[in-house]
């Protein structure tokens, strides 16, 4: 090999610089091998070290005589590195003939660990037979520290993600449990379904404005005796869970009161006394509006006796297409005063006629900036559909409510009772 110093010096260089350049190029290949800034070693195919440079010996803190012909490359590695060498490095090198940039750790004589990047190439003879393995070793302490930092951060991120995922699953389970509990409570506020009443048709619609589905509106229908049935519908002040607890008290008070004295006025008077005692006396007045009714189906139709405490008037869709409101003058909010007056009214439903009870969620629905739907509009809506069976009416009103969209911002309950038409009603073209 020609000595590098025999290369012609670059032209144009100054005398002093030229001399320095020449002396730099005095570096022999041997010198370059021994003192290179990386480790070199050559091994037999079984890994026995045949040649190793000074740099690597210095890193390892080993004497040449203790290494050459005495140790294998894998002997220089940590135990974990040996395992990796046997299971990955050596097989790959055999199959591919070369391998680059593998991260391993050398064990120095002093017991320290030196992170390195190792590249190996198999040198082959004229017939392609493998002769020896040439390996370069780079000090990778900084690089490894950097990678370990990245790995550590990744593990932290993974852990954080796993924890977030666990928290999310727990929250979801909590929410599902809460939803189950709310569904059970919800069923205590309104009946799952209405009982069948001989000689009457009934239909209902219930909408809760709060996301937890606990409403402040309530209704019920239940038998009093063989002939008569009681029903009620109302609206407690407030929304959500607070309203729901009041709703529950109201519903069971009315049911209990009706069993004791089925007169509608008496039921509402009892409710007034209970709410007043429970809340207003303690300085926390809560109230509701309600209509309580008793219906008695008969051969020619059904007689209805209604009492109301401050509730919007019931509506009747007559068989001839007329619509009537049934005001109950004198009735006041239930639960505010120690002795609240109750208004009452009576009517008869002929075949094909339907009674509608509703809460103000319907009439107070927003239809535009500052505009509410209102009682007049409801009356006109009903007039446009009378006569109608309870189911037809409720279906039409449900469509109306859906049309309000976000404008329907309060709980809404609708209860319709009717006497079936003598013969099937047919919609008249209008």
């Amino acid at each position: 090999m020609r000595r590098l110093g025999e290369e012609p010096a670059p032209s144009g260089a100054g005398g002093g610089a030229n001399a320095a350049f020449t002396s730099l190029l005095e570096d022999s290949a041997e010198e370059l091998y021994e003192s290179a800034p990386c480790g070199y070693l050559s091994t037999l195919m079984d890994g026995t070290i045949a040649k190793i440079n000074d740099t690597l010996l210095e890193w390892l803190g080993l004497e040449r005589t203790a290494v050459v012909g005495r140790r294998r490359f894998a002997d220089l590695l940590t135990v974990g590195g040996k395992l990796y060498h046997e299971t990955h490095f050596a097989p790959l090198l055999r199959m591919q003939g070369e391998l680059r940039g593998i991260a391993l750790e050398l064990k120095t004589q002093a017991g320290a660990r030196l992170p390195v990047l190792v590249s190996s190439v198999v040198k082959r003879g004229g017939q392609g037979e493998p002769l020896l393995i040439r390996t370069t070793v780079f000090d990778a302490a900084d690089r490894r520290a950097y990678e370990e930092e990245l790995l550590r951060r990744r593990r932290e991120a993974e852990q954080a993600r796993a924890e977030a995922e666990r928290a999310r699953r727990e929250a979801e389970a909590d929410r599902a449990r809460l939803a189950d509990a709310l569904a059970v409570l919800q069923r205590s506020l309104v009946p799952d379904s209405l009982p069948d009443v001989p000689g009457l048709e009934t239909a209902v619609h219930y909408h809760t404005a709060s996301a937890d589905r606990l409403g402040g509106d309530f209704y019920d229908l239940f038998p009093l005796d063989g002939e008569r049935w009681a029903f009620f519908l109302g609206d407690v002040c407030g929304k959500g869970p607070e309203a729901a607890s009041l709703t529950s008290l109201t519903r069971y008070t009315l049911r209990a009161a009706a069993l004791h004295d089925p007169a509608p006025e008496a039921a509402l008077t009892t409710l007034n006394a209970v709410l007043y005692e429970r809340y207003a006396v303690g300085g926390d007045p809560r109230y509701c509006t309600a209509i309580f009714g008793v219906v008695e189906p008969g051969p020619a139709g059904a007689t209805v006796h209604l009492a109301s405490g401050g509730h919007p008037p019931a509506m009747v869709l007559r068989a001839d297409g007329g619509v009537e409101l049934l005001p109950t003058p004198g009735g006041l909010l239930v639960g505010v005063l120690p002795d609240a007056p109750v208004g009452s009214v009576r009517t008869t439903l002929a075949p094909g006629e339907t009674l509608l009870l509703y809460t103000d969620g319907l009439t107070e629905a927003r239809t535009g900036p500052g505009d509410r739907y209102g009682e007049d509009a409801l009356r006109a809506f009903a007039a446009g559909r009378a006569p109608a069976s309870p189911q037809q009416l409720i279906t039409a009103l449900t469509g109306l409510l859906d049309g309000f969209g976000d404008g329907l911002d309060d709980d809404t309950a609708l209860l319709a009772l009717g006497v079936p038409a003598a013969r099937p009603t047919t919609e008249l073209p209008r």
Binding site: G47, G80, L83, P91, M95, Q96, I102, E147, L151
Partner: protein, 270 residues
Amino acid sequence: MTNMDIRSRNNVTITGLADAPTVILAHGFGCDQNMWRLIVPALEERYRVVLFDYVGAGGSEPSAWDPERYSSLEGYARDVVEVCEELDLKEAAFVGHSVSAMVGVLAARTVPERIGALVMVAPSPCYLDDDGYRGGFSAADIDELLESLESNYLGWSSAMAPVIMGNPDRPELGRELTNSFCATDPDVARVFARTTFLTDSRADLADVTVPTLVLECTEDVIAPREVGAYVHAAIPSSRLVTLEATGHCPQLSAPEATAEAILDFLAAWH
């Protein structure tokens, strides 16, 4: 999973003589069925040779990976059993390298009619030192191995995996990728490494009744000679052959001697 084609799931390849007795070659921890390629030519002259990759390795179906199943050697043994059943093998010879030797023991116990002989290449029933037993490693050593796995992805990347794994019909795609024989999803490799090196299967050796060849190397860090002697002593029906080879992979470092030892054993058995 039940409907998954076992052959593509385990990247099963079949070569050699169609009507000859079957030899199954099972790779160990680290690489894939390519580990056998230097001895396959000698075997396929006389036998039907079945190669496969365990789920998680080589060209196996990535979606079949299940960290729970493959956290025990039984999970890998089920791969072997399912491949044997899929191919309806009878009295096949199972050649298992490294941890696969013990996988073969479990599989032969499950389907004795399908596996008639075992060749255990550099086996170890327990890598960890134990009271009076020298496996060669401590739990801390295994942690170091796991660190090495973390530091070397060997060409595996989530972006390239589909190319390697998803083209069983075009193996040349995978072959062109450097280090692809050992390229494994690091999460998968970690599970396989732990299962391999932390399982103590010594008690299972007593169940081996079939003719068995124990092949060991003169110098093997992973399966030292005293472990080979232990395995041989624990299996009365075994023969021990020590190959003039160093390292843990005699099928690569001494392919002729390895093939010859296997062929001699199989010829004597048949």
